[in-house]
Symmetry: T
Subunit: 147 residues, 12 copies
C-alpha cells in the first residue's frame, strides 16, 4: 500500500515560523515520524510540498495509478482551490484532509473547506500529530475496504 | 490519566440502524475496542451515552476533577447545544470532538459546530475509527502538555 | 396497524392556555377523538407527550418494531431539534408532521422545520383537526404501500 | 356549502407524466374521488385548472359570492404569484393550500409559499390524498365557523 | 406577591468556575441576597435550577397560578429554546430576562434571544447584580400594574 | 399628448373589496376623475386593465407609437414581472409607477419593485389620488421635455 | 391648514450643483412655486432647511401643534436617521416623503428608507415637481380626513 | 427529428427595438435563418412566440410526443417562471436554453435561471447566433444519444 | 462619585407623546426621581439631553475627568452612531446603556446596538424605571471596582 | 484570423477520468476536431493547457497582438481567478467562455463565473461540442465586427 | 493651490486618549506638521474639526470655490454619513480619505466606507503619517491634472 | 534598511494596457522612480513581479531575514490568496498594501482584501504614486519603530 503525503503552501516553513500556531516540529521531522509510523503500519509513504496550486494539482494527477491514498494538508488552498478539488475527484484516489491548527478557531474564511465533503475523513487541531492520526485513519479505512 | 468518552443522542442505536451512514459496529463493540486501546496507551476510559441534552451537561459537569480529558461525540447536539459548549468551557477539561460520518458531506445544518472552536482538535468521517483516532490524539496532546 | 401519536413540549396545556392560537380542545379530548377515528380506520393508536427533547428521542427509538407509523406534532422542537430528526431517520418509521396553528403565519423562526423534508407529509393550521387529517393521511399512505 | 377546487399549472398532466413525483392518479380520477367525498360530506364541488396565472386570478375573483371555500393547489404559482395571493385576500373566501408532493423535500425555491400565511391550513406530501384531506379540513373548519 | 427565580444550564457552577466571566459569587450566595432583597421589597421568592430544557419548561408550566412573576436567567437556552419561549407565553406569567455577563460582548450566537421580545424587560452585564436589578424591576412593574 | 393608464391584476375589484387597504373609489370612478383631470391638463387618456401578465405586456407593446406616456399601476406584477419591465424598456415610452397603498408599510416582498428604477418617477400611498398625482407629474415632465 | 416643508442636508445647494441629478431650479424658486401652489390650494406653507440631523429633529418637534402636515424631503437622512423617524412618529403630524431624484435608480444604500413606512405617501423622481405633487397629495389627504 | 423553437416575452419586437442590446435582426429573419440551418442539419423546425407564461406552458405541454427537442429562449421568464420549468421537466423533451444578450453582464436578477440546471446546455451572448449555435448543439446531442 | 445621565434624541418629549410606548412620566419627573435615588445611594447626578449626535459626542468628551460613570439612553443613536461609541471608548468612562421600551420587541433596526458591547451593562423595557435600575447597577459596579 | 484555445486545470485528463461528467473524448481528440472545424471556417487555431493559474495568465498576456480571439475553458479557475479576468481585460482580445458540463447543475460554487460578464458569449453543457460551438460563435462574431 | 483638511468626530482628542490605537501626536501637532509639509509642497492648508455631521457638511459646502482639494478624515462618519458623501459629490472638490488606524483590522462596521468610492484615493493605518501621505498624494494628483 | 517591492499578476503590463484604469507609467518607470525615492529616503529597494501565486509566496518566504519591509501590490491576489496572507504572516516582515486604482470604486469582489487587516497600512487610488506613498509610509513607520 502506497500513500502520498501532500503539503500545501507555507508548510515548508514549519517549525521555524509561528510555532505558537503551528508547533515547533519541522517538516523534515514530521516526515521522519510519518515514515516511521508508515513502517509500523506496513505501508510506504512519499512526500510532496509546494507553494504553487498548479504544482499541487500536477502532483495529485501524477498520483493516479501510483498511490492508494493521499494524506492532504492543503493549507491555504483548502479554502480557495477548486482546481485541487477537481484533481482529487478526477483521480479518485481516497484522501484524508488534515490541518495542524484548529481551523474552526481561526478566521471565518478558514471555516469553509472546498475539499472536506469529498474527503474520506478530516483531522484538525492536533499539531503535527494530525498527520499521524490522518495516516492511521486512512490506512485503516483502505484496509477495511480491501477486506 | 482518566478519559471520559461521551456519546450524544441516538448513538445507542449504533450498528443496528443506518449502517450505511454510521457503520455496522455497535456502541458496545466500539467501547470494547476503545477500552483495549486505552490499555495500550496506559490510560483509563469511562463511557456515558444519553439522548438528553441536560443529562450530557450534567455528565460534563461531573467530569470536573475526575477526568483529564473528554472524547466527545455530541452527535446532533454538536449543531444545536450552546449549553453543552458552556459546560465544556466551564469545567475546562480538554476535549476532542469526533464524528463517525463526514459531517461536511451531509446537510448544511451539520456544517456548523457550536463546540469545535473550543475543542483541542476534531476528527470526522472515519466511522468507529474516529473515536480511536480521537482518543490517541487526546492522550498524546495531554502527555505533551504534562511534559 | 399500530400508530404512535407524539406530542412535543407544551401540548399538555392544550385547551387550557392560549385558546386563540391553539383551540379550546384539551389534549385528552383530542386523544379521545383520535382513538375514535382510529377505530373507524381499523388501526390502533398510542400517545406520548413530553416537554423533554431527550424523552421524545427515547420514545421515537422505542417505536422501532412496535409501530407502523408516527403522527408527530413536535411543537417547538420542530424548529430546533436535529436529535429528533436523527431518531426518526434512524428508526425509519414513516411519520407525518402536524401542527395545530398555521406556522407560516407566525414568527420567522417557526417557518423552518428540521423534520418536514424527511416526513411522508405535513398538515398545519386546522387546529385539533390537523391531528385527525394527519392520521387519515398516514393510514391511507401506509395502506397504499402495503398494497 | 359550495367549494371550488383550483388546480395550477401542469396539473392537467397528472397521472401521465412524472408519476414518481406526482403519483399515477389522473386529474379526472382525483376530481371523481373528490366529488364522491364531497357527496359524503354533504357539500358541492367545482373544479378549475389553468396554466395561466391571469386565468387563475380571474377564477378566484369569480368565486366571490359563489363559493364558501377554496381548495387551492397553485403548483408553481405557489412560489411566484403575488397576484394570486392578492386575489385570494381580496375575495376573502377561506382557502386551504394543498400540494401533492412534499415541497420541503424539493428545490429550495419551493420552500417559500406566497400564499400559506393567508391560508386557513396547508396539506402537503400525501399525493392525490392531499386534496381529499384538504377538502375534509376545509369543510370541517367552515362548519365549525358557522356553528 | 410571589416570584420564581429560574436558573438555566450551568448556573449551578456559579462562583466555582470561570469567575472572570461570571463573577465569584456562588448560586447559593446570590439566592441568599435575593431572598434578602425580596424581604425588603415585601415579596416571596423561590428558586429553580436545571440543566435540562424539559425540566425548565415543566417548571414554567408549574408556575402558572402559583407565581406572579418570573426572573429568568435561561443562560444557553436563551439562544436555542423555542420550547421555553412557548411555555412562558402559554402561562402568561410576566417575566424579566437577566444575564450575568454582557451577552452583546460575546460570541455572535449569544446576540439573539428567543425570549427577549416576550419579556417585560431585560438586564445584562451586571454580574450577580443583574438578578437583583431584575427582581427590583419586575416587582416595581407588577406593583404598577396592580395600581 | 396621449397617455395610457395601465392597471394590473385585481384592480378591477377596486372599491368593492378591501376598502381599508385600497379605498372605496371604484376603478370606473377613478377613471372618470382621471379623464376629467386629463381634460384640465389638455391631454387624452385611455385605460387598460388585466389580470394577465401577458396581456399587460401586449398592451405595453401596443402603446408604442400610439402613446406619449404611461401611468402604470402594475399591482402585484410590480414585484414579480421582469417581462413587464422588458416591455416598458423596449417601447421606451416614459412611464410613472403608481400605487394606491403605501407599499413600504406592507409585506417585505412588496418593498422591491422590478420597474421603479426604469420609471420617470413613482407615487405611492395616496389612494386613488396616487393616479391623479402620477398623471400630473407625467404630463409636466413630458411638457418640460418638449420644451 | 398649515403645512411645513422640510428640506434635509445639501438641498440648500439646489440649482447650483449637480443639475443633472437634481434639476436646475434653486431652493428659493421651488419654495416660491410651492407658496404659489399653497395659495391655490388655500393652505399656508413654511419652510425649513438644515444640514444637521439634530436641527431637523428639533424642527419636527416644534411642528407639533403648529402644523397640520409635513412635506419632508429628508435627503441623505432618509436612509440613516432613526432619530428623524422617531420625531415624526412622536409628534404624529401626517407627513409625505418626497425626493427630487428617482432613488430607486441610484446606489443600493438609497433604496431603503427609514421613514417611508410611517409616511402617508411617497413621491420620487419628478425633480422639483415632486414637492408640488407631495403638497397636493398631502392637502387632499388631510382634507379627506377632515371630511 | 423535429425541433420546437420557443420565444418568450418581447422577442416579437426583435430587430425593431433596442438593437444595441438585442441586435438588428428581426424575429422573422432569425427564424428564416434557423429554417435554413435546420435544412442543412436535416431536421424540421417549428416556432412559437408568446408574451404569456401560460401560453408558453401550454406550448411546452403540446410539444410532448410531437417534438424531439426544444430550443428555448424564455427571455424574462427565465428568471421568474417555475411553471415553465415544471412543464419542461414534465414533458421531458430535451431542451437548450439560449439568450441573445450576455445575461451575466446585465442586472443581478438576470443572473439566476430557473431552467438552466434542467437544460441540456446553455448558450448566451452571441445575438441571433445564439439560436443557431443552440440548434446545432441540440441536434448534435440528440444524434449522439440516438447513436 | 459623580454620574452623568445622558438622554438622546426625542427624549425631551417624554410623558407628552406616545405614552403607550414610552410611559407617562416626563423627563423632568424621571430626573427628579433619579436625583432622589442618587441621594439615597450617596452619589451626585447631572443630566444632559440633546437631539444632536454632535452635541452628545461633545457631552461625552466633556465628561472625561468630571464624571465617574455615565447612564446613557442614546435612543435612536443607539443604532446609528459610531461617533458616540468612539467618544465613549475614547473617554473610557464606564457606562450603562438603558432603554425605556423593550427594543427587542420593536422594529428589526432597533435590535442592533452599536454601543452595547462596550457598555458595562444594559437595561431595557422597564419604562422610566430602566434609568433607576441602570443607575443602581452602575453605582454598585463602580463601588465594587473601587473595593 | 487566429484563435487561441485555452484549457484550464485538469482538462489534460479529459477522456481518461470521470467520463460521466466530462465525456469520453480526449483533449487531443477535441483539439483535432477543433483544428478540422477551424479549417472549414478558414481560421487558424492554437492550443494551450495548464494546471497553473499563473501560466494561464502568462498565456493570455502572450496572446496580445498574436491572436484575434480566445476560446477559453478556464475550468476551476472560472470561479476563483480574478487574475485571469484581469489578464483578459488587459489584453482586450475578445473571448468566449465554454464549459463541457452544465455548471448550473453542479455545486453552488460553480454557479458564479468571474469571467462571464466580460466574455463575448458563453456556452456550457454540450460536452466537447461546447468548444466547437464556442469557436463557431466567436468566429462569426469577429467576422461581423470586421464587416 | 489651497487644501482643506477636515477632521471628523473625536479627532480633537488625538494624542490625549487611546494612544495605542490612534498614536500619541496631538491634533495640533499633526496640523503643525501638515502646515510644514504644505510649505514644502508649495500649497496652503486650512483645518476644520467638528463632532457634528451637519457642521462637517456645512464645511464641505463652504469649501466650494475656496479650496482645490480636501484631505478628509471623516472618522466615525466614514461609515454612517450619506450626507457627507452627498456634500462632497455636490461641491465636486477632489478629496482623499485618510484614517489614522487600519480600519480593516477593526470592527466589521468600520470596513464599509460610504465615501471611498467617490474619493480620489485612500490612505489608512499609518497613524498621523496618513494625513501627510494623503496630502502628498492629493497635491501630486491635482498637479498632474493641471498639467 | 532594505525594502522589497512586490508586484502581483498583470502588473508587468503597466503603461501598455488599460491606461485609463492603471495610468500610463510603465512598471520600469515606476521602479525607476521608486529607486530614486529610496535613495532620497536612504533605503535600498528590490523588485519582484510574477503572475503566479506560488512564485509570489516563494518571494515572500525568501524575504525573511533579507528585507526589513515589503511594499506589496498583490493585484488580483489581494482578493483571492490566503496563501499570500499566510506567507506574509509567517515571515512577519512588516508590509504595506498598495493599489494603483481605487478598488472601492470597482467590482464588489475587489472590495474585500484578504491581506489588509494584517498590513501596517494601505494606500489606493493614486496611480503609480500609490507605490511612492506606500514606500514613504513604510520607511517612516519602520524608522519610528526603531526609534
Amino acid at each position: 500500500m502506497r500513500i502520498l503525503v501532500l503539503h500545501g503552501p507555507n508548510l515548508n516553513l514549519l517549525g521555524t515560523r509561528e510555532p505558537g500556531t503551528y508547533g515547533a516540529e519541522t517538516l523534515a521531522a514530521i516526515q521522519g515520524s510519518l515514515r516511521e509510523l508508515a513502517g509500523e503500519l506496513g505501508v510506504e509513504v512519499e512526500f510532496f510540498q509546494s507553494n504553487s496550486e498548479g504544482a499541487l494539482v500536477d502532483a495529485v494527477q501524477a498520483a493516479y495509478g501510483r498511490f492508494d491514498g493521499i494524506v492532504a494538508n492543503p493549507a491555504a488552498y483548502t479554502h480557495t482551490s477548486i482546481a485541487l478539488r477537481d484533481a482529487l475527484l478526477a483521480v479518485a484516489v481516497p484522501f484524508v484532509e488534515v490541518h495542524l491548527s484548529n481551523v474552526h478557531a481561526r478566521e471565518p474564511f478558514r471555516h469553509r473547506s472546498l475539499l472536506a465533503d469529498a474527503a474520506l475523513g478530516t483531522v484538525a487541531g492536533f499539531g503535527a500529530d494530525s498527520y499521524r492520526l490522518g495516516l492511521r485513519g486512512l490506512v485503516a479505512a483502505l484496509a477495511l475496504e480491501r477486506g
